[in-house]
Amino acid sequence: MIHLKNAEFRYGQGFHLKPVSIRIKKATFTVLTGPNGSGKSTLFSLINGIVKPTSGSVTLDGVEVSTLNDRERARFMGMVPQRNAINFDYTVDELVAMGRYPYQKLFSGESENDRKIIDEVIERLDLEYYRNRRIGSLSGGEYQRVLLARVLVQQTDVLLLDEPGNHLDLKHQTMLLNLLSEEVKGGKTVVAVLHDLNQAIHFADYGLLLDDGNCIASGLPREFLTKEMIKNVFDVDMKEYRSAAGGLMFGLAEL
C-alpha cells in the first residue's frame, strides 16, 4: 500500500533523514517511534506528501504521492495533526464537516450524502452533545475526538496521526487507540507517531524505530524493542515485564 524506497530527506545543511525503505501493508497499524529529533516527523511528512523526498520515492498503491493532486491525496490519506491552537473558534460541527472538503466541487457545497456521513461519525464518536459547541471550549480529549471525527468523515484508506496521545489522559489515550484498532480491523491503514513504547507493543502490527535520522529497526515492535535497544537509543534503563498472558511490557528499571 505505502511503499518508501530509499526515501531520503535533507533540510538544507541541517537535519538529514537517511534513506529509508519500508512497506506498510493495508489494514495494519504502524507505529513510528524514537527520541525527539530522530526524524519521526520528517518521515511522517514524507508519507503525507507535505515534503518531497530529496531522493528515492514514496508511493501509495504504486502512485508517487507527490504527483497526486491535493484533493486526490486528501481522499486517500487523512491526518490528525498534533494539537495546535486554531485561531478561529469554529463549532464542532463546522470543523468536522471540513473533512468532506476533498469531495466537494466549487459550486456544489455540502451534499446530502456529506451530511449523512458527518452525522453518522458524530454519533459514532459520541459528539452529538458537543455539535454546536465552539472548539475553544473543549477539553484536550474532546478536541482530539473532534479531530478524529474529521479524519473519519474524510473517508480515507490511510489515517496518519502525529502523536495522537499528546495532551490526553490515560483513559482517553486508551479509548483513542482502541478506536484506531477498530478502524484497522475495518480495513483502514493507520500510521501513528507514538512515544509510549508499551502502547506501540500492544497496538501496532508494524513499527519503525528511528534514531538521529536513521531507521535502526523495523518489524514487529515486541520483537525489536528490547531493553538493550531502548538503552542504546533512548539512554534509559528499562526493565522487562511479562503480563499473565505473556505480553511484553517495559517499566523504568529504578522502580
Partner: protein, 345 residues
C-alpha cells in the same frame, strides 16, 4: 460552498440596512434636503415616477451625494472583505490591509501613477488602480518575506504586524518625499494619505464597483477553501488544499480589492479589522457566513463614518480615514491587550 446557502441573519439584516443608510446619508449636507426628497429624487432620476423635484436638488443628490455615498459603501465592503481574507490567510485576527502596510503600498503605487502622468496606460482611473494594485502586491510579498511566510500565524504575529507597520511607514515617507518634489500635485496626493470621499466621480464609483464586485464574488465562492486555510498549513494540506497556492491566490485577489478601494478613496484604516471581528460574534468564524456579513457590515460602517466625517464639523469635512482611525485605533489596542492576556484563541 456557495455562501448564501446557510441561514445568515447578520448578513441579511446588514444588507437591508444599506439602502436605509444610503438615503439617510443623502439627506446630510450643506443644502437642506430631507430623507423623503432624497428618495424621491433617486426614484425620479431612474424614471419610475415624477415628483417634480427641482433640478438643483436632483443634481446635488445624483452628482454629488450619491456617488460619494455609494463609493463609501463599496470601499467599506471591499476593505472589510479584504480584512477577513487577510486574517484567515495569516491565521491572525489582527491582520488587515492598513496594518499590514498594503494600503500604503497601494497608495504609493497610485501616487507614482499620478506623478508620471495619469492615463498613459488604461485611462486615468484605470492606470491609478493598476499601479495601486502593483504597489499592494509588492507590499504583501515584502511583508510576507519579512515575517517568514504564512506557516504559523500566532508564532510570527509580532513580525507580521511590525513588518507591515514598518513597510507602511517607509512607503508613506516615500509618498511625502514625492509630494515635496511635485508640489503642483500635492493636493491630489494628500488626499491619498488621509482617505476621503470628497472628490468622488461616477467614473471612480463604477471602476471601484466593478473590481470590488468581481473580487468579492470570487472570494465568496471560495469561502470553504478559506475556512480550511484558516486552520493552518499542515491541516490545510491534509484536507486537500495546497496552503501556498491557495494563500497566494487569496492574497492576490484581496490586494486587488484593496487597490481598487485605495485608488478611489485613499488610505482608510481599520475597517478590515473592526468589521470582521465584530461580526464573528454573530456569525462565528465560518467564512461562508462571515464574508457576506462583513461586506454588508463594512458598507454600513463606512457610510456611517462618512456621515460623521461630513457633519461633525460642518461645513468643514474631516477625512474619513481620521474617523475610522479614531474608532479603530483604540479597538486595535483592546484586541492586542486581550490577545496578550490569552483571552483570544
Amino acid at each position: 460552498m456557495l455562501s448564501f446557502r446557510k441561514s445568515n441573519p447578520a448578513a441579511v439584516l446588514l444588507t437591508l440596512l444599506i439602502p436605509v443608510i444610503i438615503f439617510v446619508s443623502a439627506a446630510f449636507g450643506a443644502a437642506d434636503i430631507s430623507f423623503i426628497t432624497a428618495v424621491k429624487a433617486v426614484i425620479e432620476h431612474i424614471g419610475l415616477a415624477d415628483y417634480d423635484i427641482s433640478e438643483p436638488v436632483k443634481l446635488i443628490i445624483m452628482n454629488i451625494r450619491l456617488p460619494r455615498i455609494l463609493l463609501s459603501a463599496i470601499a467599506g465592503a471591499g476593505l472589510a472583505t479584504a480584512g477577513a481574507v487577510f486574517q484567515a490567510v495569516f491565521q491572525n485576527q489582527l491582520a488587515e490591509p492598513y496594518l499590514l502596510g498594503i494600503s500604503s503600498g497601494a497608495s504609493l503605487g497610485a501616487t507614482i501613477a499620478i506623478i508620471i502622468g495619469s492615463g498613459f496606460l488604461l485611462g486615468s482611473v484605470g492606470s491609478v488602480t493598476f499601479f495601486a494594485f502593483a504597489g499592494s502586491l509588492l507590499t504583501v510579498f515584502l511583508v510576507l518575506a519579512i515575517s517568514g511566510g504564512f506557516s504559523k500565524g500566532t508564532g510570527n504575529l509580532g513580525n507580521l504586524l511590525l513588518g507591515g507597520i514598518a513597510v507602511g511607514y517607509i512607503f508613506q515617507a516615500i509618498i511625502s518625499f514625492l509630494m515635496m518634489l511635485n508640489q503642483d500635485k500635492m493636493e491630489t496626493i494628500v488626499f491619498w494619505m488621509m482617505g476621503s470621499f470628497t472628490f468622488t466621480t461616477w467614473e471612480k464609483v463604477i471602476t471601484a464597483a466593478m473590481v470590488v464586485t468581481v473580487c468579492t464574488v470570487i472570494i465568496n465562492i471560495n469561502a470553504s477553501k478559506l475556512n480550511i486555510l484558516s486552520l493552518g498549513s499542515e491541516e490545510a494540506h491534509s484536507l486537500g488544499v495546497n496552503p501556498q497556492r491557495a494563500g497566494i491566490f487569496f492574497l492576490i485577489v484581496s490586494c486587488m480589492l484593496t487597490a481598487a478601494v485605495v485608488s478611489a478613496s485613499g488610505i482608510i484604516g481599520f475597517v478590515g479589522l473592526i468589521v470582521p471581528h465584530l461580526l464573528r460574534v454573530f456569525t462565528g468564524p465560518d467564512h461562508r457566513k462571515l464574508l457576506p456579513a462583513s461586506a454588508a457590515g463594512g458598507a454600513c460602517l463606512l457610510m456611517l463614518a462618512d456621515i460623521a466625517a461630513r457633519s461633525m464639523m460642518a461645513p468643514k469635512e474631516i477625512p474619513v480615514g481620521v474617523i475610522t482611525a479614531f474608532i479603530g485605533g483604540p479597538f486595535f489596542l483592546i484586541m492586542l491587550r486581550r490577545r496578550r492576556k490569552g483571552a483570544m484563541r
